[in-house]
Symmetry: C2
Subunit: 205 residues, 2 copies
């Protein structure tokens, strides 16, 4: 009777513009029982941001040390600052039985897969590439050249879909959330995840 | 754009007494979008039973021929009559994009797995073996000896759980139904099931 069910690491990824942030926000609004992963960053805290809540704030020396000590599931540099996913935080949270969701671009997801293959990898896909283009244009923030370049990246990212466990189409945000919630519930029922529970109690009656 | 999504074959199984029939009935009552598999049988139709709706009624010679021609996913004899699952009916239904659910005991499920490994195998489990015993006793139809013998079969069937994809605990019928519905939705999002859709439309914009 010593079985304690672990949480899952759910990695939500997909091409830029597909709506990862919107879907995560909608999941939060539903009160879905998912812990959002907290990143480590070398950027300075903004007004109101708290260490251990919004980010783990570290200096560059500390961040480099985390890389050397293999303490990051993935990391990347973005406009002069480093960002990464701390492995200890993720492991402690799932060992406490809590599911963790991590929203990340495709390259980061593939880094995580090498370190943490037992995570649940969900590729958020646009209904079509044409629809993705419309969404990027709709933002109104990009030049024509930049749009073409983003579309070309998106096309190659779509080809990496087969590295994921699931593909969730983001045709409508609420439907995408339903699918993600179902995947999380289903993964808790997967035989590999739960069989120990029944092994422990086999003799009991 | 020629992609047509196939349905799933969902095999719901588990030890006798666990509540497979009750869970299937509750799924039907919800109007869950699942087609119930129709068995072939050699038993005579009862009042009101229609061929192709309640069963496919066949004589023994026809049934034997289906066995010889490998037209049954599984079959068994029960109190002098034969019962089986017709492979053509299942294949035609899922090719038409409709999910099929099949409620069956453990040995039948393992027969199906050999013929149709791509099906989704769900093991319906009692919270504990003690609870299963209570349910069997609660039916009030079995002698003490028969109860012990059924418990012993149930124990060995529990050990076959690892041949399944999912374990759904039947602690509460409605919760078990939620889990099964989530599994079906999640399986539709599995990369192997859906990736062709995106391969077909890759060039489209």
């Amino acid at each position: 009777m010593s079985f304690k069910e672990k949480g899952l690491l759910v990695v939500l990824s997909g091409p830029s513009g597909v709506g990862k942030g919107t879907v995560c926000k909608a999941l939060r609004a539903r009160g879905t029982h998912l812990q959002y992963s907290i990143s480590v960053t070398t950027r300075k805290p903004r007004e109101g941001e708290k260490d251990g809540i919004h980010y783990f704030f570290r200096d560059r020396e500390q961040f480099q040390q985390m890389i050397r000590e293999d303490k990051l599931l993935e990391w990347a540099e973005y406009v002069g600052n480093f960002y990464g996913t701390p492995v200890d935080y993720v492991r402690e949270t799932i060992n406490a039985g809590q599911d963790v969701i991590l929203e990340i671009e495709v390259q980061g997801a593939l880094q995580i897969k090498r370190r943490f293959p037992e995570a649940t990898f969900i590729f958020l896909a646009p209904p079509t590439l044409g629809e993705l283009k419309k969404r990027i244009i709709g933002r109104g923030t990009e030049t024509a050249d930049l749009i073409e370049s983003r579309m070309s990246v998106a096309k190659s990212e779509m080809e990496l879909m087969e590295n994921y466990n699931y593909v969730v189409e983001n045709d409508q945000v609420e439907k995408a959330c339903d699918r993600i919630e179902s995947i999380v519930l289903a993964e808790h029922c997967r035989v590999d995840h739960i069989i120990e529970k029944y092994k422990d109690s086999e003799g009991a009656d």
